[in-house]
């Protein structure tokens, strides 16, 4: 079998004959790859230098003094919002994940519908639905004493974000637990471990390794997703950025925000990498 496979659409190859062996791929691809790579790196360097030059040329000490504290407070709001939502979402995700595995069809269907709704619609639409949508039910909400909560944009944002991340976290949780084989449960019970001991000593440590990366990604997604709260009057980092821009019309306001977001996300990603390396150190040799 020295003939190439059906030479449909490849007359050039069959014409050349089968005795011509193509040169080993790296030989000429390498140089071209290097040229392209250097060109692309040059392009990135140009973008970086351009941004830096732009920031330097538009540097304005007065502007910085005025807006730096606001960016800081905006950043704090972003971090608080994400931290609270992630924690509340984590608590809420446990019953939902259990519900997904429930033997009761009603419970399972409801949990599935919950997850499908929150994963199937944009966070922005959910936030609007909670903030402006529930606003049109003020008399009803007042009657049941919930208006005090939904009156505040801050609580509405936390409410919407927690419900949203709970759906995603429930799926992470379910996936992680399902990744641990049945045999682990059986072996643990054969050793006479209680259910609680099995969960804590056997299942959780293994599930944690699987879940770590998705959890890290979820936090990153929340940080990025939280940039929309400015639209419902919460002054997070993005909100402060837009406020500064609408006053100064200076585009560097957006560049600063981009740099801050990039560094937080990068730090988080590196953090997750480190934790993962530590958790999986027994798997390496």
């Amino acid at each position: 079998m020295s003939e190439p496979p059906p030479a449909i659409g490849a007359p050039a190859l069959s014409a050349r004959g089968s005795d011509v062996v193509p040169p080993p791929p790296p030989a000429r691809g390498w140089a071209r790859a290097r040229v392209t790579g250097i060109a692309l790196l040059g392009l990135w360097a140009l973008v970086g230098a351009g941004t830096l030059l732009f920031l330097l040329s538009s540097w304005n000490a007065e502007l910085f003094a005025r807006y730096a504290p606001r960016y800081l407070s905006g950043l704090l709001v972003t971090v608080q919002l994400v931290a609270i939502s992630i924690v509340l979402g984590a608590v809420l995700s446990v019953p939902i994940a259990l519900g997904r595995r429930s033997k009761s069809r009603i419970v399972a269907t409801l949990s599935y519908a919950y997850v499908y709704f929150f994963r199937g619609t944009p966070l922005l639409a959910q936030t609007f639905l909670v903030y402006y949508g529930l606003g049109s039910f003020r008399p009803e909400l007042q009657a049941v004493g919930l208006w005090g909560f939904f009156r505040e944009a801050w609580y509405c944002a936390i409410f919407a974000f927690s419900l949203n991340t709970a759906a995603y976290q429930a799926e992470i949780l379910r996936g992680a637990f399902e990744s641990v084989g049945r045999g682990q449960w059986e072996a643990a019970s054969a050793l006479g471990l209680s259910r609680l001991q099995t969960v804590y000593k056997i299942i959780l440590p293994q599930a944690a390794i699987v879940a770590l990366r998705p959890y890290g990604n979820e936090i990153i997604l929340m940080i990025k997703g939280s940039a929309i709260v400015a639209i419902i009057t919460v002054y997070d980092l993005m909100g402060e950025t837009r406020r500064a821009y609408s006053r100064t019309f200076d585009f560097q306001t957006y560049i600063w925000a981009a740099l801050i977001y990039l560094s937080i996300v990068e730090m988080l990603r590196l953090g997750v990498d480190r934790i993962e390396r530590r958790l999986t150190r027994h798997l390496r040799r």
């Binding site: 003020r138 009156r151 639209i231 009057t233 406020r243 609408s246 006053r247 019309f249």
Partner: protein, 252 residues
């Protein structure tokens, strides 16, 4: 019909991701406005623009003998969009401020304005004592700037458009809304604003509204100025004024 047209529009936008203008832009004057600021510029259920700004802009275009086309653009991006050439002039009740004047050129004022508070009728709202009160404004307006500068102990709530600020006032999420007299007047006299009334006197001093064009387009400014004078003279302005307000909005 309209749907298929919009699909076609969307697809042609996809195909022509970058549209190159320039020489052709001069024949048609594109007017940028917000479309969420009744009774000055707002969209109706069938997607048409209406309002004082829109009628004035139409009258000015007719006076100048140019064909006009309206482009709607959210408020917070309206100046960048003008600078980027997405339209040629902003007729959207924009106050002439020193900060904006650095970015764009303004025509002579086409009406005057003042800022005024609106709050629920039964609420006691005192503009001199707003500590801890939530004040709703539209983001990026002189009202937002005014609250920020003069009421540091009030809680500023900035909304993307004026309509959301009012919605939250009638829901009592904010204690008061600060905005231009003209829009507030329309709102308190509408069904939605029945809850509320003017509180206190106008604040913020004299404010004049002009048409913004890109910096250095002096010729266009001159043409607009001449047209404003002309419609003041020939009664068109008074007609449009009477259509929306029972008082003289031009001021002297």
């Amino acid at each position: 019909m309209r749907i298929t047209r919009r699909i076609a529009l969307g697809l042609s936008a996809a195909a022509l991701a970058l549209t190159i203008g320039g020489a052709t832009a001069q024949e048609k004057l594109r007017i940028g406005t917000e479309g969420a600021y009744p009774p000055f510029n707002n969209l109706t259920a069938d997607g048409k623009l209406e309002g004082f700004d829109v009628d004035i802009a139409r009258a000015l275009c007719e006076e100048m003998g140019v064909e006009c086309e309206f482009v709607t653009q959210d408020w917070d991006g309206i100046i960048p969009a003008l600078q980027a050439g997405k339209f040629d002039a902003i007729v959207a009740s924009m106050s002439i401020t020193p900060e904006r004047d650095e970015q764009v050129d303004f025509t002579k004022p086409y009406y005057t304005n003042s800022l005024v508070f609106v709050a629920p009728k039964e609420a006691e709202f005192d503009a001199d004592n707003v500590e801890g009160k939530a004040i709703g404004v539209q983001a990026g307006t002189i009202a937002a700037e005014y609250v920020e500068e003069n009421y540091p102990d009030a809680e500023l709530r900035a909304y993307p458009s004026q309509l959301e600020a009012w919605a939250d006032l009638s829901n009592e999420r904010v204690d008061a809304v600060l905005a231009d007299f003209g829009v507030q007047y329309e709102w308190v006299n509408s069904e939605g604003g029945a809850c509320c009334e003017f509180k206190g006197d106008a604040v913020g001093g004299d404010d004049v509204i002009g048409i913004a064009v890109r910096e250095g387009e002096t010729e266009l400014v001159e043409k607009f100025n001449a047209a404003i004078d002309a419609i003041r003279e020939n009664g068109t302005y008074a007609e449009v004024n009477a259509k929306y307000f029972p008082f003289d909005i031009y001021g002297e």
